[in-house]
């Protein structure tokens, strides 16, 4: 004979708690999706996104993307390095694919004609409130034998 066991008080409380957690609170802003990390790396490269401070609403600013090629790779300067913002960003960009302007560069050790570190500028305009920059960086690194076209998600935020 199959009988249902009685629901105990602790079980009822647990169910209520789960129900409350699952129900969106009225009048609250939706919780934004979590940001990707500000640093990503793989065998051939590492890339970091940094935001300047302070930021002022409506005043143009520049985030810095630091790209490092390693394990015998160099940065492919002919590739149009760009940032493709995603909908987690709360700042304004110049378009859906923002070209990154090359800044300071460092040659590869023992290979002066090749660049292994490159600073890139990402222009944006912050609004009021939390400033989030989130999107995908597109770049390319090469060895003499092969080139890689890479895209990696990066994010960073700054409080007003």
């Amino acid at each position: 004979m199959n009988t249902l066991s009685p629901v105990t008080a602790p079980t009822r409380l647990l169910g209520l708690a789960l129900l409350l957690l699952a129900t969106p609170a009225r009048g609250l802003e939706p919780v934004p999706a979590s940001l990707p990390p500000s640093h990503q790396e793989a065998t051939a490269w590492a890339v970091t996104l940094g935001l300047p401070t302070p930021l002022r609403a409506g005043v143009a600013a520049t985030a810095i993307v630091q790209l490092i090629a390693r394990a015998g790779h160099h940065i492919n300067l002919e590739y149009p390095v760009a940032f493709r913002p995603d909908d987690r960003s709360t700042v304004t960009f110049g378009g859906p694919r923002v070209p990154l302007a090359a800044g300071a560069s460092t040659p590869c050790p023992g290979r002066a004609a090749e660049i292994c570190q490159q600073t890139l500028a990402l222009p944006f305009t912050p609004g009021a409130g939390l400033r989030r920059v989130s999107g995908t960086v597109l770049f390319s690194v090469c060895t003499a034998e092969r080139c890689l076209i890479e895209r990696t998600a990066l994010g960073a935020e700054a409080s007003p």
Partner: protein, 202 residues
């Protein structure tokens, strides 16, 4: 008596640059015979009287992958073929190098629905005669057999048509074909190719 060796040296010195400029725009395109992926010989001279596009190819190069899956090479060859243009892809990769060998090229041809021949130039002789440096690298030959365009497929060096220089996409090779078909001088006859290096043996 000592003049002859000197003259021979001068001839050699002048012959080298001439050979290097054999595939210059406005000059006759170097003839070649290469085998396709089924071993069938294909000779450039057989297409005299038609516009021919040569596309240096490497299915392992990410720029070639991008161009053939979302860039300017997705349907360029099919469109040109409908206009009577001959399109030949050439892989000058040496055996063992990235993208070399009949099997990889056969797979890419099937995956990307490539209808034109892919020719193997494993010794790199044809690639070097044309000065092919990149994949993709495009050469357009006019109906008289002269080179009319050499360079990039377009002005978006990501291979995806997403970053055109100057903000407007220009498909250089297709534009050269259009100019030739219309009987006009080719407006842009030379550009810098982008992409991977050709994987020559040396």
């Amino acid at each position: 008596m000592t003049i002859r060796p000197l003259a021979a040296c001068l001839v050699l010195l002048t012959a080298a640059p001439l050979a290097a400029t054999a595939a210059e725009v406005g000059q006759p395109a170097p003839d070649f015979t290469l085998s396709d992926l089924d071993g069938k010989p294909v000779r450039l001279a057989d297409f005299k009287g038609k516009i021919v596009v040569l596309e240096w190819f490497n299915p392992g190069c990410p720029y070639v992958v991008a161009a053939h899956t979302k860039g300017s090479l997705v349907d360029a060859a099919a469109k040109a073929s409908k206009q009577g243009v001959i399109w030949l892809a050439i892989n000058s990769g040496a055996p063992g190098k990235q993208g070399a060998g009949a099997e990889l090229n056969r797979k890419a041809r099937a995956d990307w629905k490539i209808g034109h021949p892919v020719l193997l130039d494993e010794a790199g002789t044809v690639g070097k005669a044309y000065g092919a440096t990149n994949t993709p690298h495009l050469f357009v030959i006019d109906a008289a057999g002269k080179l009319a365009y050499r360079g990039a497929v377009d002005n978006s060096p990501d291979g995806e048509r997403a970053s055109p220089q100057g903000g407007t996409l220009v498909e250089y090779a297709a534009a050269a074909v259009d100019d030739l078909r219309a009987g006009r001088p080719v407006k842009v006859s030379s550009t810098k190719a982008y992409g991977c290096g050709v994987k020559y043996a040396q």
